[in-house]
């Protein structure tokens, strides 16, 4: 980061207008006058695909997650259902509050991190590999229990530093194209970038099935894709930077419904 700042400072190229972070938006209010889910920016066909539970391919991972939910691990410890009972009632709304501060880990974790924490702590099993079909299936299944419920994350107390870091990330230029998240997802919402209509970058649909991927994928996969898009080095799946950004994005999407599993182009 310091190296980048130094480089930017040395750059006398007049076409580079501003390399410093844009001013962060005030914390008290959401940065956009009207909150629109990514759903709003899809074609009618893609919206219909998301809405039809028997055509939405993301539901295949939800079904697989349901199987995993009730399958006890080899360690003799209980299945997810052994502690949490019926996911349809006990897990409704849970995903809408992630990422959140986890006391025993003393850090903010996202849903994938919480699932792996449960596996290690309560099932004495190894954590699932990020972006593996099993972790995608479980997070899609738990996420699906909150489908339609409003996103609501805590950003105060022990979550405050992560939130501030995530917000700073959102407004920091990066990559060879020297773009921050807000340059696409606030300043140019609704405009076309080649064949894509720029969305507000709301994160309520993940894990989401993307036609481009021909698969379901996590929010972090989408964030890596954003980084590569501006020609920045992507972070690892589950990286602290992405969890902080995820917290900021979820706060930014406050009140929008969880759409897991959403369908995006």
């Amino acid at each position: 980061m310091i190296f980048c700042a130094l480089l930017a400072g040395c750059d006398k190229n007049p076409t580079v207008i501003d390399d410093s972070p844009s001013a962060p938006a005030p914390v008290a209010t959401a940065p956009l006058p009207e909150m629109l889910s990514g759903y709003h920016f899809q074609s009618a066909d893609t919206q219909a695909l998301q809405d039809d539970q028997f055509a939405n391919p993301g539901m295949l991972w939800v079904d697989r997650g349901e199987e995993l939910w009730t399958t006890a691990p080899q360690t003799g410890k209980p299945a997810c259902a052994g502690c949490h009972n019926d996911a349809a009632t006990d897990m409704a709304g849970v995903a809408a509050h992630f990422p959140k501060y986890n006391k025993s880990l003393d850090t903010v974790v996202n849903l994938e991190g919480q699932i792996n924490h449960c596996r290690v702590e309560h099932q004495q099993s190894s954590p699932l590999v990020y972006e593996s079909d099993d972790l995608l299936a479980l997070s899609a299944y738990v996420g699906y229990q909150s489908n339609g419920l409003p996103i609501e994350v805590a950003i105060d107390g022990p979550a405050a530093p992560a939130f501030a870091a995530g917000q700073a990330y959102f407004y920091t230029r990066r990559g060879q194209l020297n773009l921050a998240c807000n340059h696409c997802h606030e300043d140019n919402v609704g405009r076309m970038l080649r064949g894509d209509k720029l969305s507000q970058g709301q994160a309520g649909g993940y894990p989401a099935y993307r036609l481009e991927w021909q698969s379901i994928g996590s929010l972090h996969r989408r964030l890596r894709f954003c980084n590569v898009g501006v020609r920045a080095e992507p972070f690892a799946f589950g990286a602290t930077q992405y969890i902080e950004l995820e917290l900021y994005l979820k706060w930014r999407a406050q009140g929008l419904p969880v759409e897991t599993p959403a369908v995006r182009r």
Binding site: Q42, D45, L49, G195, E212, Q214, G229, P234
Partner: protein, 153 residues
């Protein structure tokens, strides 16, 4: 632009156009990949335009998965029904997409699926009826290019 030839259009034109030999017209109008499929699968039969209705977006957001719905005008009775529907995508690496075999047991000659479309093209559909007659329709599609490609991430 969806160049669907529906029953009404076809019937309206049928009075004056009935004498036209349709197979050479169709074959002349389509590309070599479609011709080779038609020659392979229907070497002798005559293919007439009409009866086939296609729902396909004029502009696909992503060519990996494009909704396509096909219906064929048919009463679907034990003596008069659609026996198959075949999809041909001439600009794809392989022109064959899918073939659906039906009978009067379906009650309705309508199939929906999702296909891969590699480039702008006319997607051709051939339907075969129980009397042996062959009918066809086509729909034009443009595939947009995404801003950021993500094949490896």
């Amino acid at each position: 632009m969806i160049r669907t030839i529906n029953r009404r259009n076809w019937l309206a034109g049928a009075g004056t156009l009935a004498t036209l030999t349709v197979q050479p017209r169709l074959l002349a109008a389509v590309s070599e990949p479609v011709q080779s499929v038609l020659k392979r699968d229907f070497p002798t039969a005559e293919i007439q335009p009409g009866r086939v209705n296609i729902e396909l977006p004029a502009l696909a957001e992503n060519g990996n998965s494009v909704r396509m719905k096909i219906s064929v005008d048919s009463p679907m009775t034990p003596t008069d029904y659609v026996s198959f529907i075949q999809i041909i995508a001439q600009a794809n690496p392989l022109p064959d997409v899918a073939r659906f075999d039906l009978s009067h047991a379906n009650g309705l000659a309508e199939v929906e699926t999702r296909i891969r479309v590699s480039a702008e093209q006319d997607i051709v559909v051939v339907a075969g009826l129980s009397d042996g007659s062959l009918w066809s329709g086509s729909a034009h599609i443009v595939v947009t290019v995404a801003a950021c490609l993500d094949a490896l991430y």
